[in-house]
Amino acid sequence: MIWQLDLAILTLVVIAGIGAITVKDLLGAAILFGAYSFMMCLLWSIMGAVDVSFTEASVGAGASTVFFVAAVFRTTRRTKD
């Protein structure tokens, strides 16, 4: 485990998480959530959990983002907070 890389990606995870819940556009929130999931996937491959890492890359960053984008296009992009 390389701690410099670990700390940098942990910072990016927190930034992407805060961005996903504060941006005032639901499509932007969906894409930022995809970035958050991908950063988590990188974090797990750093920590040696390669099986969790590729499951997160396909399911978390792939399928979840598609679900969010599909839900946003079937409803609305507008949000008040």
Partner: protein, 131 residues
């Protein structure tokens, strides 16, 4: 102090968990609440994977496991050389459950939107009270 700095993974996991809890409680939009729920779930997965991580260990695949000919059974397998794979296997199940709950939650949000024509919680509650 040394303990607090060395365990920085756990501080980040608490931070992410509080971000998710805040989004679930304080946000007004249903999709934002669902994003908060997913962040909360990944924070717990981060905690479990951090438990299994070790310094100076490799990924949990045994080297020289199936020896060719003479090497079979002569190599000692030291558990300290490998990362603990048990939390990884548990969290593999948790990721699949997380995407299933996400799909159900988004389907319910789409039904709510079709009925009330909004995703904001206060507007939905106002429409329910009018009836």
């Amino acid at each position: 102090m040394q303990m607090l700095v060395a365990k920085y993974n756990y501080w980040i996991y608490i931070t992410l968990m509080m971000i998710g809890l805040y989004a679930m409680i304080a946000k007004n939009n249903l999709v934002k609440k669902i994003v908060g729920m997913s962040i909360f779930q990944t924070a717990i997965i981060l905690f479990y994977v951090s438990i299994g991580a070790k310094r100076g260990a490799t990924i949990p695949i045994i080297e020289h496991g199936h020896g060719e000919g003479h090497g079979a059974g002569t190599h000692m397998v030291h558990a300290v050389d490998y990362i603990n794979p048990l939390p990884h296997v548990l969290m593999l199940t948790a990721i699949v459950v997380a995407v299933a709950t996400l799909g159900v939650a988004l389907a319910l949000a789409i039904r709510v939107y079709n009925r009330y024509n909004t995703l904001e919680e206060d507007e939905i509650l106002a429409q329910i009270r009018e009836k």
